[in-house]
Point group: C2
Chain length 505, copies 2
């Protein structure tokens, strides 16, 4: 791709790439913190992360960037070109960062590192009180952040949401969630009234963890994750970290008596990993070598987890080797029984173990609570009560303790407020992308049933991954699918799939 012949552009790109290189060091430290760090090393790690965050922030707000951006204002970079995208995102990031005092950035890094350690301990001890002071500190700092960033005519929450899903607001999210919620509530009610009762015991029998580990790796490899450029490890809260070109790390967690957690979790993280591995390596550090938004990122993970991994076709290919690996658990199970068991729809406590249908309701609950935390209408101390009340309202269930209630996710302890809604946006994007891929690639079901995942992977690489952040999410969606954001493809997918599974009218 040709680049503008402007020294200011070359200098800007060099600066951005070096900043990204420095930030990638802290990504490795962050990965290590969640996987291999000894307990007593937590405090030192917090100091390391704070130092790096401060150094990255210093570079991000360097007045030289402001000067370069001013110079580039006077140059025509074309419409929807790589250079225009790189400069657009550099400007967005510079403007956001220059509004944040360095002290706040350093304090956020320090507090969220320690807060995550406190969260791990509090969750293990099922003792919210141990986490409460940390949540309070995190929320106070995130409110400071929102005030510093600014939010125009909107609400403070918008300033946080915009960091993960550029251009998105609480109001727009609510507008997309409302019709989806109506559809889901109706679908969940129909399923609850169905006479079909899949055999849940199929997924809760004993599946040796070593064999789960090997099979998860095999599945990730099958869909195209490249282990010569990545890893799969264990972490309390699974994530994918794209550290840099050639180094993308997935994590998962294993439960001997609930194999879907690790297997679909691995496919989920591998979906994120395929996005990272599919980015243009030479563009590392610039918008063109970066994902478009968290919602788009999530569309990739949810597509491989649900639209592929929980599809009948996937198991037409994989059930035979899976049954060979776990013959004691699965000797007597048919494809129909297995497929029904991995797609049971039922209100439950844990978001990351939730089925495709109720999952989005978990997101809506968190979205409502974190808006209240940021507006100041809910205090950290009142989170367990508010969570449990809303949970009862959404799912007609009461969490037995906070470890499976308001402390189940790492996000709040890590300061990731405004992140949750991108999960449900991802589900909507995924449905739209999958329809577009299907219409171009022919019968994906047939391909999956033969173990052929390369056509979909390559299509995603060409249409989404390699485009980096050339477009904002809404424009990317339009370019790839010729549609604007809509909940309907997701509703159609869920209604059709679960209508068949639960024999609904």
């Amino acid at each position: 791709m040709s680049e503008p012949d402007a020294p200011a552009y070359t200098e800007l790109i060099g600066h951005l790439q070096e900043s990204a290189l420095l930030a990638s060091c802290s990504h490795l430290l962050g990965w290590d913190e969640q996987t291999y760090l000894p307990a007593q090393g937590a405090e030192h790690r917090a100091e390391q992360m704070a130092l790096l965050a401060g150094l990255v922030h210093e570079r991000t707000v360097s007045p030289r960037i402001g000067e370069l951006l001013s110079e580039l204002d006077r140059i025509d970079l074309g419409a929807e070109t790589a250079a225009a995208a790189n400069v657009r995102e550099a400007r967005r990031s510079y403007e956001r960062a220059t509004r944040l005092p360095k002290e706040l950035v350093v304090e956020l890094s320090r507090v969220t590192t320690l807060s995550q350690q406190a969260w791990v301990e509090a969750r293990q001890a099922k003792d919210f009180k141990k986490f409460e002071p940390w949540l309070e500190k995190v929320i106070a700092l995130k409110r400071e952040e929102a005030t510093a960033v600014g939010y125009g005519d909107g609400v403070p929450y918008d300033a946080l949401l915009d960091d993960y899903e550029p251009g998105m607001t609480a109001e727009k999210v609510q507008a997309a969630f409302t019709p989806l919620r109506d559809d889901l509530v109706s679908l969940v009610q129909q399923i609850a009234g169905s006479s079909v009762t899949p055999d849940r015991s199929i997924v809760t029998r004993a599946y040796s963890i070593d064999a789960q580990r090997a099979f998860g790796r095999r599945a990730a490899e099958a869909i195209g994750f490249d282990f010569s450029a990545g890893r799969l490890d264990e972490a309390a809260h699974p994530f994918c970290s794209g550290i840099g070109p050639g180094d993308c790390r997935l994590t998962t967690r294993y439960d001997e008596h609930f194999f879907p957690q690790a297997l679909f979790g691995t496919l989920h993280e591998a979906g994120h990993g395929l996005y990272e591995q599919g980015l243009n390596r030479d563009a590392f550090g610039t918008a063109m070598g970066h994902s478009a938004s968290l919602g788009i990122h999530e569309s990739q993970s949810r597509m491989w987890e649900n639209f592929v991994g929980r599809r009948r076709a996937f198991w037409e290919h994989f059930l035979t080797p899976f049954r060979e690996t776990f013959s004691t658990a699965l000797g007597d199970v048919s494809l129909d029984e297995f497929y029904a068991a991995i797609n049971i729809v039922e209100p439950s406590f844990i978001r990351v173990e939730a089925d495709e249908v109720t999952y989005n309701l978990h997101i809506m609950l968190r979205f409502e609570l974190e808006q209240l935390l940021i507006s100041g209408d809910l205090s950290a101390a009142d989170v367990p009560a508010a969570w449990n009340q809303k949970f009862e309202e959404f799912f007609s269930l009461s969490p037995p303790d906070d470890s499976v209630g308001c402390m189940q996710d790492v996000h709040w302890s890590a300061g990731l407020i405004g992140y949750f809604p991108t999960y449900a946006l991802g589900n909507m994007y995924a449905a739209q992308f999958f329809n577009a891929a299907q219409s171009e690639l022919g019968d994906l079901h047939q391909q999956f049933s033969r173990g052929e995942f390369a056509p979909l992977k390559d299509w995603l690489r060409t249409n989404i991954h390699q485009r980096g952040h050339l477009y904002q999410a809404d424009r990317l969606l339009e370019v790839v699918t010729s549609e604007t954001l809509s909940h309907e493809p997701l509703t159609d997918h869920l209604t059709s799939k679960f209508g068949e599974l639960y024999n609904l009218g």
Copy 2:
């Protein structure tokens, strides 16, 4: 400990601690590079390491340090006080660093990172030609480093050696090695003429790697390594990395048919780890929170590996559980047979698998070759021939290929020239320290045979670890043992131990 009431001192310490914090980030990246980094991530890692090295170097040569040191010149910090030691070492490090151009530091970091990757591949392929251009680059850069640092009336090699063992010169090393070499050659000849022939098969039977891993961890724990503040992982070339307070990482490598490699390797690295874990945490980043020299560091690892781990008393305690774990391999083996088998003296190819007696000859060989490389009297291309010729001379053996010859160690690929002699110095220091401990703690043999290692560990902590770099190595030796450096305690230890084992007159 009271600190001088001088703003310059406070500022200097703050600066040093922040630099150490930044350097500790690159230590974590270095550990990861050797343990978990995916192959395709090597290039990005090299860029990360080079960037961090550059940033650390910038801080290390900051003119502000020069100003602070000048101010502190005018303050009486006392004799052998913590403050005096911190300032002395800050000055030594500043003077060394200001002589090195930043470009050289960055290039050394970049080249040695890639060179280590090339070394791994060349070693696996047994193809020195793949490594040769990298070795050539490393040597050229190290010669540049020696020239930049300066070496007074000495030789360029001294400038490199001084980085690992402050105050030591090639001439002094040679003076210590010469009498030791005479003693060892004589001892090896006597052993070769002995009619005692221990059963080597005892150490080469099948020892499952999983069980070796568990036993190695148990042994490291038994001697006092704290796993809540550390880890044990696998690496091609084992090392110990003290990343920071509460985070010290050991590595080892396993061979199903040669258990001593991992077991004594783990005790060796755990010896280093005990030193790191025994340092004063609050003094992190200053001389007082740092080891005294690599030779002193090695004295700790060799003490736990050889003076403890290969001692009869250690196995009076551990043979029973070891035999239970490996009953197929060891069911019929007595303590005497086992003790003899783990102490077989025999010329062999691999330094890290060498016995206590011939080990020092491996060091002397490397010491001679690397002096020639740095003086320019030996080119990288001629290293295999020179190695093999000298090996024949020292051991009457010819390495079958370079992977067990000149490519067996990571050091040269990592730019660690001048490092090897500290291993043999460590053996001499260890013998002297062990005698001192023994005379203060009573019958260590009795204690070990009951599985009591805390008295020795605590004595080392008090006398060596907690003193940090208060003294230079020679002064520390004098304070702790009331002796100066001598090869005699090592000779006495080896002569007595192997005289008994091989029934020598």
